[in-house]
Subunit: 219 residues, 2 copies
Amino acid sequence: MQDWITRFKGLNALPDRLKRKLITQSRIVTLKKGARVFGQGSSPENLLMLLEGTVRVQQQSTAGREIVLYRVQAGESCVLTTACLLAYDDHSAEGVAETMVKAAAIPRKVFEDLITDSTDFRQFVFQSYSRRITDLFFVIDELAFRRVDIRLAQTLILLSDGKDALSVTHQQLAAELGTAREVISRQLQEFQRRGMVKLSRGVVQITDSDALENLSKDK
Amino acid sequence: MQDWITRFKGLNALPDRLKRKLITQSRIVTLKKGARVFGQGSSPENLLMLLEGTVRVQQQSTAGREIVLYRVQAGESCVLTTACLLAYDDHSAEGVAETMVKAAAIPRKVFEDLITDSTDFRQFVFQSYSRRITDLFFVIDELAFRRVDIRLAQTLILLSDGKDALSVTHQQLAAELGTAREVISRQLQEFQRRGMVKLSRGVVQITDSDALENLSKDK
DNA sequence: GCTGTTTGGTGACTTTCTCACCAACGGTGC
DNA sequence: GCACCGTTGGTGAGAAAGTCACCAAACAGC
C-alpha cells in the first residue's frame, strides 16, 4: 500500500521528492459502504484520492428527491466537490461511499504546497476538474433533452457493468435519474412487458441487453 | 484602459511585476454583440477576462434546442469553459457575446506562467472555477426539481434587471430554460391572464413584479 | 406467529413536451 | 402602394413525465 501513487496516471511524472511528500504526509483511510464522505456543511479538511471503491456524488432537493451527479472511481480524486464545498458550503451536494472505500487523505496544506511546487500536480488537478465538469455538462444535457426511458436504459447498462442482474430498488434508480419512483416503476414494467428485463424485489435482471442497448442509443 | 486589472478584485494582490506582465502581454479585444466567443471545436488560444459586457454560455442539443448554462459578467473570466474546451472539445457548449464585449485576451503561455508563479493568480482561477461549478449545480437543481412557471418567473425578474420591460422572444426564453417555445408561449399567456405581464411582439412588459417575485419564490 | 418497515403497484390528475400547422407582423424589393 | 418571406407567436391534440394518495406484498425483527 505504500506506493499507491502509481495508481494515479497523472502523478507518475512527479519528482521523487514530492511523491515522498505525498506518501509520508497523507494517511490511508477506510470508509464503510454507505458512509458519507462529505456534504452538508462538513467542510472537508482533506482531499481524498480514491484507491479502492466508488464514491457517488449526488444533489438533494428540498422535497427529498435527489439526483446522481457523477461517480468518483479508484484512481480519481474528489477535487471538484472538495474545492467547491470549501468555497460555498450552502449547496446541497454530498458524497456517499458506494462500496467499501480506501483512500489517501491529503491535508489541505500539503495539497496547496503541491499545487505551488509542481506543474505536474497542477496538471493533474486541472484534469480532474475538467472531467467532472464534462460530467456535469452531460447530466444537464440528459436532463434537459433526453427521454426517461432512454436514460433508464443507459443507466441499467451502466450499473449492470456487463453482469446480467443488478440489485437496485426503483427508488435508487429514480435518484439516479432525478425523477420520481413511480415513473421508474412504470417504465420498468414496460421494459418487462417488452421482454428486456425481468423484475423482482430489489433486483432487475437484464434479459435482452441488445434491445436495451439499442434503446439507450435512440436519438 | 491600461489598468484594467483593478476591475478584478482577485487580482489586486498580484505583485507589480506580474501585473505588468499581464498588461504588456495581453491585448484588448472588442467583440460585436452576437459574436461567438468560443465553441464548436474552436480551441481557444486565449483566456478572456471580461472588461465590459456579458458573455452567455449555452449548451446545444442535437435537436436544435438549447439551454443557457451561465453568464460571464464584466470582472469575471472564462476559465472554466476555456479549460474544458481544451481538454475535451467534443461537447457542444458555446459562448456568445450578449452585448458588445471588451475583454483582455491572455495568451495560453502567459496564463500558464502566471499559474506557476503566483499563488494569488491561482486563487483567482480556482475561485472562478468554483463560481461556475456552483452555477452548474444550480442549473441541474432547477432542471430536475423546479416547475417551469416558477423558473420562468425567476428568469423574467433576472433578465429585466429592475426595468419594467424586456425585449426577448419566446424562443429566447425557451432557450434560457432549456424548454420548448410553445411551453413558454402558453405560460406567458397564463401570466398575462393573471395580470402579471403584458405581451407584445418581442417584448414582455412586467406589470406586477411583486406577483412575479412571489411566484418565483414558490417552493 | 405478529408488527413495522421497505418496496413496489395503481388510478386520477396536472404539468410538460412534441408535432403539425397556421396567422400575424415586419422587413425587402418592386 | 403590393407581393414575398422570414420571424414570431398561437393553437389543438396527443404523448410523456411528474404528483398525490393510497394500498399490498415482501421482508426483518422480535
